[in-house]
Point group: C2
Chain length 322, copies 2
């Protein structure tokens, strides 16, 4: 038995998902669906179709993986596709997940399909760490750190500034915050935990106006320690990196006076962001497939899904992990 | 709204659970139930009743926490209590969980109750790590290490040997195995990962026979690197420790030739084994309560329960962890 997978979107993530799926015996690829001209897309061997032909393949697809960005594509596309397909996605705008979930829910509740949303390494795996550690530790304090690694969202935000030719933005944990989180039971804000390092290729003479606009962008750079480097197109190449890192520090205390200390530390070193995200997406496909088979239609975040549903093989020997 | 909790068994774990529950607003303690004489048990303030009176309190208890050992008590007691109560326990004999689950399931399926079993820090939290990392990482290899910390099961096993007056057994990760697990994608056996350090108070002249019997105990010491220390009663006191530690090393690889490496590391440093276990048990009580409220009767391991069910407060703002 294998899950028949559709891949919608063929950028870095779609391509990584194809490669991951080709390696696994319990998944087969029905097709890749692109908004570009299919004949111009070179896959790793899977059939490539036009996005417009997706609905003709509905009967051949158990789960459709949506390999699109969170800023515009997913909010626009997912509610429509969720009416005809079981979908999985990696929507990653933390502040907008509730609103996104509601929108997808409206589509799914009338269709009888399953949508697994916002499931990558964060939101996703690190979300699980935060929830479990906050639930299991006595008097918990939990802090998450991202990086050093490229943030696609922040990079795109810089590129939208007038006068910017190209850019890369690294999210970097603050050393003082890492130390604090490992020692003191106190939640730190996202701006206290991270600094933002930007490498920018700018049009001549636009450096000052770019700096002003960048530093005033709310939710992106305002309130952060920001480091700006204006560099050449050639230099920028060496900063295009796919690696990333995530860390969770959790502290707890018990005993009559809180004198007994507990400490948890998770560190995930990610060789390639799209590769890991694609691998997690495959696990989501397995979960969506199992949920759909049980007719449990609805929209699911990682918090709504029993862990066993992600298990790597269809045959259920999941208790060997207990 | 609060969960009305019964505590069955009042050893280290029962006492730690009472202390944890007294600190939390969403739990109230209906009573502690002991097989000792209730008047001889000094609680931290909760009412103490005879175990034989448990059934009179059935209407006042939403969830009954079973604070007993795994070797004899839980397998004997849980199937009976699960007929009348929603139960949670920390059964921790990894090899026997499936068999235990089947036994409890038979009781629960006729009673309409919920039983959450085998949920502490391992099996429990570290089981989740193993399952998620094995499901999410590409080409995963996962190794778990326990200790340095006292194993109750192994300590009890030594105490059963003829000529042993008292003992403490530490489970200690092998340094060579820790290094290997962080570098090489290869699952190590439990004997390759750990050594066993035993501190024993023996009757005069019994050291040799104790050594022979101990080293030949299957599933406990046979095949392990074992370190034996025969010491005095007085010296043993300083080895009675409640702290423990758990580590999970996971490696993954992606890319066409597996050349892209991913690495995850979890380290949990436990100030007090019973305190952390009690705190996790409280989270299990919340999950059992929610499952029961939805009439989802049955027996559950941590793999069967959606993560959101463990969330610390009854009001559902769980998505803030996403």
């Amino acid at each position: 038995m294998s899950i028949r997978l559709g891949i919608a979107g063929y950028g870095n993530l779609g391509r990584a998902l194809e490669m991951a799926a080709l390696k696994d015996d319990d998944v087969e690829i029905e097709g890749i669906f692109t908004r570009r001209k299919p004949e111009e897309v070179v896959s790793l061997g899977s059939s490539v179709y036009s996005f417009d032909d997706l609905y003709y393949h509905a009967d051949g697809i158990d789960v459709l993986a949506l390999c699109y960005g969170s800023s515009h594509d997913l909010p626009d596309i997912t509610p429509h596709l969720a009416e005809c397909f079981n979908t999985v996605d990696t929507f990653d705008n933390h502040l907008m997940i509730n609103e996104y979930k509601r929108r997808v829910d409206r589509a799914v509740s009338s269709s009888g399909k399953v949508s697994v949303i916002a499931l990558g390494w964060d939101p996703g795996f690190l979300s699980l760490m935060r929830l479990y550690l906050s639930s299991f530790l006595p008097s918990p304090s939990v802090n998450t750190f991202w990086g050093r690694g490229v943030s696609q969202g922040h990079t795109e935000a810089i590129k939208r500034i007038d006068g910017v030719i190209d850019a890369v933005q690294y999210t970097v944990p603050r050393e003082d915050a890492l130390t604090l989180a490992s020692l003191v039971s106190h939640p730190l804000s996202v701006t206290e935990r991270h600094r933002r390092v930007c490498y920018i290729v700018a049009e001549k003479g636009r450096e000052d106006s770019i700096t002003d606009e960048l530093l005033s962008m709310e939710n992106y750079f305002l309130g952060y320690e920001v480091e700006l480097h204006f560099i050449s197109k050639e230099e920028l190449k060496k900063y295009k990196s796919a690696s990333h890192r995530g860390r969770v520090y959790a502290l707890g205390s018990s005993g009559r006076y809180g004198e007994v200390k507990h400490r948890a530390y998770l560190d995930i070193d990610i060789g390639s962001n799209p590769d890991l995200t694609a691998s997690i997406m495959l696990a989501s496909c397995r979960a969506a497939y199992r949920l759909a088979r049980e007719n449990r239609n609805g929209v699911y975040t990682v918090f709504d899904i029993p862990p066993s549903y992600f298990a790597p093989v269809i045959c259920e020997n999941v208790n060997s992990y207990l």
